[in-house]
């Protein structure tokens, strides 16, 4: 078992492509995005399908990365969620194959 970091970024859908580029440019081996269906923040609720433009939807992006990549990627993501609605958190995970990430 090897230690890696799990980046979890919840971000508004209109900024999804930007977030993808940030991940890709920072050299991660991959990431996976999941659709979100509802949420709450700042006293406001949102719900998917309520708004035809889908501009209030959120997506969650998960990426398992090597610790070495963290500084660069978190700095870029901080910039992103400085402009866009989003929540970022990091966690420790173990993986089986070290060279995969």
């Amino acid at each position: 078992m090897f230690s890696k970091k799990r980046i979890e970024l919840i971000i508004e859908k209109p900024a999804f492509k930007r977030a993808c580029r940030v991940f890709e440019d920072s050299g991660v081996t991959g990431y996976t995005a999941l659709p979100c269906m509802a949420g709450y923040g700042n006293g406001n609720r949102w719900q998917r399908g309520t708004d035809l433009s889908a501009s209030r939807d959120m997506v969650m992006i998960i990426s398992i990365v090597d610790e070495d990549l963290l500084p660069k990627i978190t700095q870029q993501l901080e910039n992103l969620i400085g402009a866009h609605i989003g929540v970022l958190s990091l966690a420790d995970v173990q993986v089986i194959r070290d060279d995969r990430f």
Binding site: A15, K17, R21, R45, D51, L52, S53, S55, R56, N79
Partner: protein, 327 residues
Amino acid sequence: MSLDLALSTILSPIVLFFVLGLFAALLRSQMTVPEAFAKGLAIYLMMAIGLKGGVEMSKATLGPDILILAAVAILLSFLIPFLAYNALRITSKMDRINAAATAGHYGSISIVTFVAATQALQYAGIVTSGYMVAIAALMEVPAIISALLLARRGLSKGGEVAGSEKGELFREVMLNASVVVLVGSLIIGWVTGEQGMEKISPFFVTPFQGVLCLFLLDMGLSAGRGLRQGWRDLNVGALSFGIYMPLISAAITAGICKALSMTLGDTALLITLAASASYIAVPAAMRLALPKAKPSIYLTLSLGVTFPFNLTLGIPLYILLAQWVVS
């Protein structure tokens, strides 16, 4: 007779289903039309009106007036936001960025409002031109540029957002679903003409109004939910903007139509387009270009206030206005 028309518009199944959805949402019913289904219907509706417009264009001879009309439409879409911005800044205390983003919505258009007006006109036996669909498509985008110009001064000069790419906004806006489907279907309708339409009209023409009922039920639910969630973020000045702004745009456009001596039907449609506000293409663009602007403000106004107003009272009013102007 004109009151008759107003009443028959308001009591048409289309509008009544919208009102049903609106009330269900305001009463906090959980019912929803599934997102994927509603989006599918939206594509259907845009194909249908594109095709219809295209076929009509294939039957008419297009004079140079259409180019003038196109230029006027683009200008309207481009200029209305400047008016809207100042109106908002005066009547509500909205900050620059939000006022600019909201103003952009009112320069752009709502294709569903356009369709509802077409139906009302058709019901009243008033003829409209096929190329008005192209005019509608042309009015979607210019307002977005105005919003960016208006917001420029309010924007921090802090460089690009991480991950942004040159041309992303342009691609988002010029190739969004409604532009692609509307313009594409218009061209297909134009190329294949009446003969091509024949085989597909049992799908795109006959059931059109029924599909619209189902779609407007969903729009009612969306509008009601938008209003219920968002009205707290808006003061009276902002809320009233959602009603007086369409009327201002309508009045200005009516004058222009008179100057261009357009037909009754086309006048009513151009007025409706100018008076309608976007709630699909522009919100998505604003999240990219002006992420600091709050969706709860601009979506509540365009979808929760202006759209219901236009659909119920606005359209009959705009038709009456067109009748008054043309005669």
